[in-house]
Symmetry: D2
Subunit: 135 residues, 4 copies
């Protein structure tokens, strides 16, 4: 039970080794997360909002390289939920090969233009809607 | 009479051809612009501001490639000023070789969280301070 | 007569002003160029090749901002062809609004791992195939 | 005992939340790693090489945000070494505040233009030189 996001490697995402730069894998995971939000009828960042979803932690295990123009999939699911955080799990696959697995843990905060971020409880139905969209 | 910003090429800025991706040249120009603002005792984006400096136009002629770990300079000067726009000129050099020349034209606007950008007259002393810092 | 590439703005492409960073417009143009190549049955960078297509010039006029999750189109066509260069023209539109127009001029070169790039005549049928794919 | 790399946040590294995008923290770690290599009199990627240092794993815990023009430090040290891998540990600090801690694990491989990467034993004195440079 996961939402699947499809993507192709772009030229600017490669580096001089001829492979996708490792930081782009985190971009791909984030794109899948936001596509999941859209599939759930929501947006992670609406104009004028002073709340947001900064990251608490991110990790990735790289299993195989991606190269220019490769087509791949990012499967994302809501793995762990606490009062103020959501952890997503991601699996990136090319054809039948797993190229990476990772997680991103994100908090819900208010972010005034100045001053520190302030953690908030998750909005009521966000998790239920994300889980429904990932089935 | 130009302000000079020094930089080294980072790995993530290269692409599979082994050269700096062309879009990074525009990043380098912007970094030089913002360093000029700091040298003039200003910041192009202060927390909480609802004004900003979006781009109207940008161009670059690429003369020679940059490669990983190359050290280079970006010379920036205020070239053309109108009531509501500033155009900067940039020259990128590695050792004695010009690797690129370009311009960025930027407007001063208010940018409410929602709704369109609105052009504003340039703040009084910005241009004078930038020109002084570039001498 | 242009090839049309469709895209959505990603979160990482925005900046603190809440708009797409101007350098991403050049990425969008390049993505459209490479999609045109694929539509023509070609790839701009095949594994092991020692030729490539570095940029001689790039420019963009920015007409309206793009924001997070905006859907937009990039229309690309082959505008000017010389013995060793191709110039593409791009128009970016969101709904019916033109958000940017630009060009990229690219050369065909050999790029040995060390030593300078060397300009080459365009491969025989590349331009004809690109033009056919853009109709 | 760590090598310290100093950096300032650039505009293009921020996102619409007004903070540095989380993927940039991994770029900062990599920049520190490569600066350590240079301090050790080496380069992680020399022209014409067919070996490289792809990533096996990367993780980051984010403790506090970074914002436009913030000055910060990345302390890097060689943490764990195996026959074919090096793990680096990173601590990012702004003033006296830890903003992030992370690790990157990297393998030494040959990477032919086509075909799979092949793991190699670490070159003889690389680790000793990195450790000496980090003291």
């Amino acid at each position: 039970m996961a939402f699947v996001y499809r993507r192709r490697v772009q030229f600017a995402e490669t580096d001089l080794a001829g492979l996708v730069h490792f930081t782009c894998f985190f971009r791909y995971m984030e794109e899948a997360e936001h596509a999941l939000w859209r599939a759930a009828g929501m947006s992670i960042a609406r104009a004028g909002e002073i709340t947001g979803w900064p990251r608490l932690a991110a990790n990735c295990d790289f299993k195989a390289p991606l190269r220019f123009e490769d087509e791949f999939e990012v499967a994302v699911r809501v793995a762990n939920v606490r009062a103020r955080t959501i952890q997503y799990e991601f699996t990136l696959t090319k054809a039948e090969t797993v190229v990476a697995v990772g997680t991103i843990t994100t908090a819900y905060v208010s972010r005034p233009p100045e001053g520190p971020l302030k953690a908030l409880d998750l909005p009521g139905d966000v998790v239920a809607r994300l889980r429904a969209a990932a089935e």
